[in-house]
Amino acid sequence: MKLRKAMAVVLSAAMAVSSAMVVSADEGPVTLTLWGAEEDQTLLGELVDEFKAAYPDQEFDISIGVESESTAKDTILTDPEAAADVFAFASDQIFDLVNAGALLNLEDFGEVLQMAGKTLDDVKAANVAGSVEAATVDGSLYAFPRAADNGYFLYYDSSVLSEDDIASWDSLLAAADAAGKKVGMTFASGWYNASFFYGAGFTTGLNEDGTTAIDWNGTSADGYTGVDVVKGMIGIASSPAFMAIADGDITNQIAGGQLCAVVSGTWDAIAAQEAFGDGYAATKLPTFTVGDTQVQQGSVAGYKFVGVNGFSENSGWAVLLAEFITNEASQQKFFDQRESGPSNNNVLASDAVSANLAMAALGKQAEFGVAQNVGGKFWDPSATFGEMIAQGNLSVDDDAAIQEALDTLVEGVTAPVE
């Protein structure tokens, strides 16, 4: 016991000495690494130069690396200690990143943000509520929202479909059938097929132990049953004018020319423009039939975030850099140069943004968008569930089989994390 105390004294003395050394050795430049998407590299270079100019008293050595937002999690979790200090990532990765300690809790850095003349509440107020909600885990903000364009809505060909046709799935499919065209959507993905359940008031959530909470096999807050939602989905999938598209094959199918309407996001804007020509139009998703009522289809609102690595040594400056490349001026630049849909309220309200068809449709759908809080166990079971409906494995008359499939889905999604 005595020995241990002595050790503790010696160790803390050593710590004090070494930390004193750190403070005195503080003269050199602050070294930071920043990861962003390949197509954003030029813009990030400009923003880093502006960042340096904004803090002239401090010397920086900032290097920029290429890492796509969609694969950031995979690379970072391989070795968080070696990953970049500041990195961009898609919002659905936030739980795994927080879980692995790869994101800093920004609530501890209020004091740092004052150097940028802001408080954390200013950041939260400047961006759309959904993006802040999606960047918040257990009540703490873990990342700065940078873009709000990771959601889906309806592209359609206005030379084939009228405004009335696109109001509901029933009229949409009927009109498409009459025109000999098809309406496409991905069913075999929990990111897309959750839209029906979210629309009917069902939820998903994340528990503290990392498992996923899901209520789709019961009755929603709006009073609809999961079975009725599934019946609505079967009704859509069994229409001859409906085309179930494999996840990741949407762009191909738009170019294929069979479609007159498709559920997709801003990344397919150019493909849709080319396919639909002058008829190119976009709007919110239609309503669908649940029981005997029409329910507005929901959606998943996805965002792009910039976060700071939990293992970053120069964390203070890293937080300031992350804040800088997500502030209003930077988001304006991202929209101007990269056509990236902003999450900042002021940029979002500008005329240029609302003139963009796809961006405007995304804005209309955003009202029904939900931040999808799910763990890793959600994806495979939910993709399988959507595929079962798309392939017609479930019969619309067999309530018991639908209920059983929903129960199995819930069992798989809520399984303990390994």
Binding site: P381, Q391, V417
Partner: protein
């Protein structure tokens, strides 16, 4: 015959343990009968050499001993003492506003502890062997000195490494390479299978620890997750079915094709052969991804089938229930398609090998058979095939093992196209068309479930090792050449 071979295998194993026993006996004899310097060599590895005036060797051994002690004290001791728990200190971080830096405690990283402990064990095992050999060697020197024989100088010793001991010089580098790049990773894989290394226990921010046999229990159905054993049995079954069909269809197909091309009746055989070899010239992943797109639900093949009415016909007779033919997206269909596509990919390789072998087919046998009035099929059955099997047997075994781990074909053809409709499979992150190795890949890549992936990896390793041992023992055992004759 079989028992004889088993006896051979047993004696080989016996010989192995005998050699180990002999090694320890040599050491015991050397230590007991050696003089004071041999005994001193146990503590100071250079002692025996110094006594026989081999000063450079003494210096080298002393330096080696010092290096191992230094390695142990400065490196191994950081990790090995924590090997029992795999670390206890969780990462903590404090932000220092003055320096704008995060300050970390001296936290443990379970993975580093496991990896570097294993590395230390391997180094120590090597050092232990050298230490024992050293005592035996200096005892031999003592015997030589007592008998008045010549004792090599350092230059003579060095020279022997490019003369009578040249094999040692040649093998040193490969052995080190295999140890570092193959042996230690396999050891690591084996140990991870007995831990709880998964998404909830991911270093560096969290620790993992030993978990006994629980991963194997859940794989074989005794654990909490029943779906894991459900998926494992089915995937193992498909893996074996696939390996069997993939190996034999391409093998037989390749031989038939080359016999056909070698036949005197075939015109412009060189043109045909070149055409088939072009499949090899295109990188496999390019052709596989293209084929995947051709056969996808909305792909070109489906469009053609729908236009010529094949899809409608198949719907009418009840073979498909969807508006497309699920070539690569429904069980059964996908299984057959994968094997067919693999024939197209794999046959040209086998054709090349078979062509080479057929050119060496003893023509006197074929001639005399023909003179005796044998039909072409009889010649093929009784002469060509046995000869082929005899020559390419070992390659067939390797092919089978390769196909068990044939990641490319399965993953590239089904990833992103195949979604299982079996909920029990989906609940354990598996698909009907997965091989053990692709399942393992997605468990680590998408779910960070390293412990289960390691357990599966060990099973794959055992299957491949046992199969290879048995097959090689049967095929390359002595006496096979006479069988053929």
């Amino acid at each position: 015959m079989a028992s004889q071979k088993k006896g051979g295998a047993m004696s080989a194993v016996g010989g192995f343990f005998g050699a180990i026993g002999g090694f320890f006996k040599d050491f015991g004899v050397a230590f007991a009968k050696g003089d004071i310097f041999v005994k001193l060599s146990v503590l100071w590895m250079g002692a025996g050499y110094a006594r026989r005036k081999q000063y450079i060797k003494a210096l080298i051994m002393t330096a080696l001993e010092a290096a191992i002690i230094a390695f142990t004290l400065t490196f191994a001791m950081q990790y090995v003492p924590k090997f029992g728990t795999l670390g206890t200190v969780v990462m903590e971080r404090v932000f220092n506003m003055k320096t704008m830096k995060s300050e970390f405690n001296d936290y443990d990283n379970s993975f580093s502890i496991l990896l570097f402990s294993l590395f230390s064990f391997v180094v120590w095992a090597g050092a232990f062997v050298i230490w024992m050999r050293n005592v035996v060697n200096v005892y031999r020197l003592q015997q030589k000195a007592e008998a008045g024989e010549h004792i090599n100088t350092f230059r003579e010793d060095m020279h022997s490494y490019i003369e009578e001991k040249f094999h040692i010089t040649l093998l040193t580098l490969p052995v080190i390479g295999i140890t570092v790049f193959t042996f230690i990773p396999i050891l690591l894989l084996i140990f991870v299978a007995f831990t709880n290394y998964d998404q909830q226990h991911m270093p560096p921010s969290a620790l993992f620890t030993w978990a006994g046999f629980s991963n194997f229990l859940s794989l074989f159905g005794g654990g909490l997750t029943t779906t894991f054993s459900y998926a494992f049995v089915r995937i193992l079954g498909w893996t074996l079915v696939w390996a069997f069909f993939a190996t034999f269809t391409t093998y037989i197909g390749g031989i038939l094709l080359s016999v056909l091309l070698n036949s005197a009746k075939t015109r412009v055989p060189k043109l045909w052969r070149t055409l088939f070899i072009i499949t090899i010239a295109v990188p496999q992943f390019v052709s596989l991804l293209l084929v995947r797109n051709f056969f996808s639900n909305g792909g070109i093949v489906n469009t053609i089938c729908a236009n010529i009415g094949l899809t409608g016909f198949l719907r009418d007779i009840g073979l498909v229930s969807t508006s497309y033919i699920p070539f690569l997206s429904a069980p059964g269909w996908a299984h057959v398609m994968i094997i067919l596509i693999n024939i197209w990919i794999g046959v040209p390789y086998q054709m090349l090998i078979a062509t080479g072998v057929l050119m060496n087919l003893p023509s006197d046998q074929v001639e005399s058979a023909r003179v005796d009035g044998a039909k072409p099929f009889q010649i093929f059955k009784s002469i060509t095939m046995p000869y082929m099997l005899f020559v390419t047997g070992p390659a067939l075994v390797t092919d089978f093992v390769k196909n068990i781990n044939n990641f490319n074909v399965i993953y590239l053809l089904t990833e992103g196209v195949y979604t299982t409709t079996n909920q029990a499979m989906a609940n354990s992150q598996a698909k009907e068309v997965d091989l053990l190795v692709t399942w393992l890949f997605r468990l680590t890549q998408d779910y960070y479930n390293y412990k289960m992936a390691s357990a599966i990896g060990i099973i794959v390793f055992i299957i491949c090792a046992v199969f290879t041992l048995f097959a090689f023992n049967r095929m390359i055992g002595n006496g096979r050449e006479e069988d053929y004759q």
